[in-house]
Amino acid sequence: MHDVNWVALSIFVLLFAFITWLGFAAARWRKGDLDQLHEWGLAGRRFGTLITWFLVGGDLYTAYTFIAVPALAFGAGAVAFFAVPYTIVVYPLLFLVFPRLWHVCNKRGYITAGDFVRGRYGNRWLALAVTVTGIVATMPYIALQLVGLQVVIGGLGVSGTGWVAELPLVIAFLILAAFTYSSGLRAPASIAIVKDLLIYITAFAAVIVIPIQLGGFGKIFAAVPHEKLLLAVPGANTTGAYGAYATLALGSALALLLYPHSLTAIFSASSGRAIRRNAALLPGYSFMLGLLALVGFFALGAGVAKLPEFAAGFKQFGNNFAVPALFLHFFPDWFVGVAFAAIGIGALVPAAIMSIAAANLYTRNIHCEFINRNATPKQEAQLAKWASLIVKAGALVFIIFVPLKFAIYLQLLGGIWIIQTLPALVIGAYTRWLNSWALLVGWAVGTYAGTAMAISQDLKPAFPLKLGDWNLPGYTAFYTLLLNLAIAVVLTLVLNALRAAKPVTDETVAADYHA
């Protein structure tokens, strides 16, 4: 512990103490009966436009994003900027589809995606597929949030050997587990307000102060190697880096809102109108994310990777250390404390929402569907609280004992898996024409093919698809979604032609889908 940055650490601990208090106090905010699952797990669906903005923003733009996107810019250059088109095209989807899902879930009392699929198609196995996909895709995502926390704790100079090294992470996680258990979704919602304000302050300070010290954007970009500055222009008969960039952005956008933590935050809004307004307001975070991607270039321009005092950090955390190193280099200690707290708290907000979302899924669509169909509302809420603890403990064990790269690989696969639930959820929000068994087969084939394709590429996101003479590298999740959709449509047509399909028992009606 010889090189601890005490000033920064004090500020960091102080801010953490504040949000811990806030997390527990949140139980009394917009008070509801926390023995009801929709109160604990969706905060009673009472968040208006502004709180939803903080909550969804704090949820989707995670600590890992703020570390990993600049790290990708630092390491790979222009391709990291796909985060910007990605977070542009996601909002028309939010605007058009998710108010419909919100309305039907509100009217029918659905809490999870599994609840909706079960009600819409009357097929518990399709609901189970959606549920398991959601939980499995979320787990490594929670683990990755801890990576953000680990990196900033390392940046503060806190180190040790053996179990002591993991102690700060374990403490942060116990805090997280305790306030999530007691306050449910109200805790991350209240903490998100603090987190988002800190992140905005940090991002704008970085984008204004650092370029001035480095002598302007012109100098910074002049220091970026030519091949990293722009996308490589594709050669003949290939869509090359262009196709990869566009499908990565589009596929990621299609997948993002299907994650359980996204749906949980969206369903906790108080109206469809609050969601539509947020489609216009949330790009504020996208803009900030774009600015933060540039911070990766600042780190290149400042040459932090070559400074001896950061050698140990880069050795331990790789490119993920670029942003912390840059802050340590350019900012006074007290502001480093603020910036690192922003990232650290930024890890707890999504981790809390993710664990709540996974717990809701387990409780509603596995336990109460397959294990105990007669659970009382109180038992249901209690079960979800315990499940949230188990989910978080699992993520903690994962990050301590499994090498980091596996969490990153699994999170990448998680994107490929979660996108396979799009036909049932997004198309299901408009029509139940697609047969539920056809959807299930499409899901299974898409999941299998996506996993196999990703593994064949050593878990890189792009797959080099060949069509005739053309070479079309693109995001595996996007290609397998097309395959999934094609199978669902063809099988539905076949089943309809054979008149093999039973009539659908759809408990929702058209009026459920809008105000």
């Binding site: 542009i88 028309p92 605007f95 970009f221 722009l230 222009v233 216009a280 774009g290």
Partner: protein
């Protein structure tokens, strides 16, 4: 198709607005890299590739707000 389903389908379709087609502009503007994969003209030293996409965030948000106001009436 019975009467109830018929009504159901109509009810779902009635929420469509042609203004939503404006969203297509956002998709085309940012998902077609040949539009913006170049360094010039730079803005305050920032290559076109970067400031164009950042500007698109602002334009897209404003367009979404306009679509919201029009369709909410």
């Amino acid at each position: 198709m019975n009467n109830e389903t018929d009504q159901r389908e109509r009810g779902e379709r009635s929420r469509w607005s042609w203004w939503y087609l404006l969203f297509l502009i956002q998709f085309i503007a940012v998902l077609w890299p040949p539009f913006y994969n170049r360094a010039e003209p730079a803005l305050l030293g920032m290559p076109f590739f970067y400031w164009y996409q950042l500007a698109c965030v602002v334009v897209a948000a404003v367009m979404t707000a306009i679509i919201y106001v029009i369709t909410e009436r």
